[in-house]
């Protein structure tokens, strides 16, 4: 516990916040995007925004793997799970993600689909071993951090000669998405948002290192600070970004030296590369098609690829037209700008994906921060009266 307390020290945080306020140039504004939902969650949960000066604004990025999974992929998973021979193993937070017409894995389970919540890929392997008469499919999602465990599962399935295990692969890549936020046809449509720098997720970099961001920082002339998920990590990263902006630098800096290195975990990368390859394009909820942003199983492992094995199609499906997830995931709008926020759409009745996972921008704002809007409204009302 001591270990955690050190990174939650309120006094230290206030000290760093004071430094930020002192360094932030009052004549300009600073817009930083935290890419990852883990950071969004930490910012909301610890009320970090309250410590920052008004001209330093945080923009929530698309880094929640649950939020960026397009409806079509959920529909595909549901259709897979509804087949009588299939047992679909999934992480718990996918259960409530809305598919088309209000469907979800949770509802499919209630309707009789054999869907099991697991906590790791190994649970899925165990089920496949124990129930050889079932076709066990692991619903794989997540960024670079969750990919090595999926690779491990395939390795184990090969070693144990499991004929009834396969993976529905939805693994996506962080750098590709960050790049897409800054340059894609949609940017022109949705409008650009001012971003002066990025906070990169430390857990992703424990696998890929900081090196993949070098090109990006250079190309787009934006600073990137890779940071951990404790509130002190985040606020320290903000301070580092403010300094870089003030100095006119655009470098990749590593706040999380306690676990992240330049090249990351090369063994894990090699393991992933053995079984997976880049997909030319993958649809992200809110970002549309993003080139080279996801992984698929290599041809020689096709028997573990649930899409091939079960001839699975990803149906075309679109979000509720009023849902602003796309703009929110790009940082163009804030959750409260969405008409559905807090009325039709709440964590109990999520309409869009940002409301589903506790790490989604809308859910985080609803769960931890919505009093800020009310306070603003009240203050505005008072000012008028």
């Amino acid at each position: 516990m001591k270990y955690i307390d050190e990174y939650r020290d309120g006094r230290l945080a206030k000290d760093i916040a004071r430094q930020i306020t002192a360094l932030a140039d009052p004549d300009r504004s600073y817009h930083f995007m935290e890419f990852c939902g883990g950071h969004t969650h930490a910012i909301s949960r610890y009320g970090l925004e309250d410590l920052l000066p008004a001209n330093v604004r945080m923009i929530h990025g698309p880094g929640c793997p649950v939020c960026v999974l397009p409806i079509g992929r959920i529909d595909a998973a549901i259709s897979l799970a509804m087949r009588p021979e299939i047992t679909l193993c999934t992480y718990g937070d996918l259960m409530r993600v809305p598919g088309s017409e209000g469907s979800s894995l949770l509802k499919a389970k209630a309707a009789g689909a054999d869907i099991r919540m697991v906590y790791s890929t190994l649970d899925a392997i165990r089920i496949a071993e124990q129930e050889p008469q079932r076709e066990v499919v692991f619903f794989a999602i997540g960024f670079e951090t969750t990919t090595p465990p999926t690779a491990m599962a395939i390795k184990m399935a090969i070693a144990r000669d499991l004929p009834n295990f396969s993976v529905f692969c939805n693994h996506v890549l962080t750098p590709a998405a960050i790049q897409n936020i800054l340059e894609s046809p949609d940017v022109r449509k949705l409008g650009t948002v001012k971003i002066d720098g990025f906070i990169g997720p430390a857990h992703v970099s424990t696998v890929i290192g900081t090196e993949p961001y070098e090109f990006f920082a250079e190309e787009f002339r934006k600073p990137v600070v890779v940071a951990g998920f404790e509130p002190l990590d985040v606020i320290q990263a903000i301070l580092m970004l403010v300094k870089q902006v003030n100095d006119g630098r655009h470098e990749v800096e590593n706040q999380y030296i306690r676990a992240v290195t330049i090249f990351g975990n090369e063994k894990a990368q090699a393991e992933v590369a053995t079984y997976f390859e880049l997909k030319e394009s993958f649809e992200w909820r809110g970002l549309g098609q993003v080139p080279y942003s996801a992984l698929r199983l290599r041809a020689q492992y096709a028997r573990f690829d649930a899409e091939k094995r079960f001839d699975l199609e990803t149906p075309a499906a679109s979000d509720n037209p009023a849902c602003e997830c796309g703009a929110i995931l790009r940082g163009v709008k804030r959750p409260a700008d969405c008409k559905l926020f807090g009325t039709v759409c709440t964590p109990d009745t999520p309409m869009g994906s940002c409301m589903v996972s506790s790490e989604g921008a809308c859910a985080a704002h609803w769960t931890y921060g919505r009093f800020r809007e009310k306070a603003k409204e009240a203050n505005a009302g008072r000012a008028v009266a």
């Binding site: 516990m1 001591k2 955690i4 939650r8 309120g10 945080a13 206030k14 916040a17 883990g38 909301s44 949960r45 610890y46 009320g47 970090l48 925004e49 309250d50 410590l51 793997p65 649950v66 992480y91 718990g92 937070d93 259960m95 409530r96 919540m117 697991v118 906590y119 790791s120 649970d123 999602i141 997540g142 960024f143 951090t145 969750t146 857990h203 509130p231 709440t346 964590p347 109990d348 996972s357 506790s358 790490e359 859910a363 609803w366 769960t367 931890y368 921060g369 919505r370 009093f371 009310k374």
Partner: protein, 350 residues
């Protein structure tokens, strides 16, 4: 007659036997099960009378009645099992009205194939818990369902009690300015149970806080009943759900201070590891009291004098707020809402 019966009757093999459908069929096997396990464990005059109901004297005053169902998984966890939980939980529901709990009922739905030894252990724990609390289980029921139609054992309980004259605690009674007191460190039950869930097992020395709180509530009523607005046990949904419920019923908001909430470091660490918010995690031996400011210190002192309230603390106060928000100053110095949980609390993936 008895001699003949004995000759045909095989002893209940508690050590190795399993519950089968005959144990719920109303015949001899069922009588044997009830005698050999439940009556033995709960032993009291009412049960010995062998009626389908129990008659008892009722003291003057307002009666309180509550009912509850227990479906915990796993059935046995560090610090207790479904049986102690059922007894404590029901006593606490009565005690939160400021009432003295008097009698309990217990009804069992047992899945065919359930080991008799486990059933006996559960019943013995219930017997102990009810004797320790001085609240007898005076009537009950047993049903056996086919394999696959229940998850081991489900227990339903009811409890009755009497509120002392002059006391009337209501869920809508919180007023701006009132103090919010928690009786001790939060989150222990939920973490203890989760640490033993299949797929999730992890090593912690956290035991469930399951306990009967009527002694503590009696001390609180004694110390300042007139200032006591309401009490609630923060079970499922944890402290967060309880405060939100009270806020909505009383049409007030709450301001609480994260640093002031008693919590064991192991609980905080386990929640961190699982990606859970300890404020959403269940408690089974803690209470939340909302107290008029002038009574807060006396009631807090009385709580701290009781073994189950040793770590009691004032964690915040009620404020006027038309949105009924529960707001918290975080240990980090920022502010946030403390919300109800949406859906089931699930460990996060990354």
């Amino acid at each position: 007659m008895n001699m003949v019966l004995k000759a045909y009757r095989r002893k209940l093999d508690i050590r190795n036997g399993l519950v089968d459908l005959s144990h719920g069929a109303g015949g001899r096997a069922m009588g044997q099960l009830i005698e050999g396990i439940f009556h033995k464990a709960f032993d009291n005059d009412w049960l010995r009378a062998g009626n389908d109901q129990s008659a008892f004297q009722v003291p003057a005053g307002r009666m309180v009645m509550t009912t509850d169902g227990y479906v915990v998984s796993p059935l046995f966890f560090p610090g207790g099992n479904i049986g102690s939980l059922a007894v404590h939980g029901t006593i606490n529901d009565v005690a939160m009205a400021g009432a003295t709990p008097l009698y309990l009922s217990a009804s069992f739905i047992i899945e065919e194939g359930f080991p008799l030894a486990d059933l006996a252990r559960i019943a013995e724990t219930m017997g102990e818990a009810s004797r320790e609390a001085g609240v007898p289980i005076v009537t009950g029921d047993t049903k056996v369902v086919e394999r696959g139609k229940a998850d081991g054992v489900f227990i339903s309980t009811a409890g009755v009690g009497v509120v002392p004259p002059g006391l009337d605690l209501r869920s809508d009674a919180a007023r701006p300015g009132d103090a919010v007191i928690v009786s001790g460190s939060i989150g222990e039950h939920g973490v203890a149970v989760m640490s033993k869930r299949e797929n999730l097992e992890f090593e912690v020395d956290i035991v469930s806080d399951t306990a009967a709180l009527h002694g503590l509530t009696a001390a609180m009523v004694g110390a300042g009943g007139a200032h006591l607005r309401l009490m609630r046990d923060p079970t499922r949904g944890g402290l967060a759900a309880t405060l939100n419920e009270i806020a909505n019923q009383s049409k007030v908001g709450f301001r609480i201070d994260e640093d002031g909430i008693p919590m064991r470091p192991e609980v905080a660490a386990a929640c961190e590891f699982l990606g859970l918010d300890p404020l959403n995690v269940a408690n089974e031996g803690k209470l939340v009291a909302v107290v008029a400011p002038e009574g807060a210190e006396a009631i807090l002192a009385a709580m701290r004098n009781h073994p189950l309230g040793r770590d009691a603390a004032i964690i915040g106060h009620a404020v006027s707020d038309e949105h009924c928000f529960v707001q918290m100053e975080t240990s980090f110095g920022g502010g946030r809402i403390v919300d109800w949980l949406s859906g089931e609390q699930l460990p996060r993936i990354c």
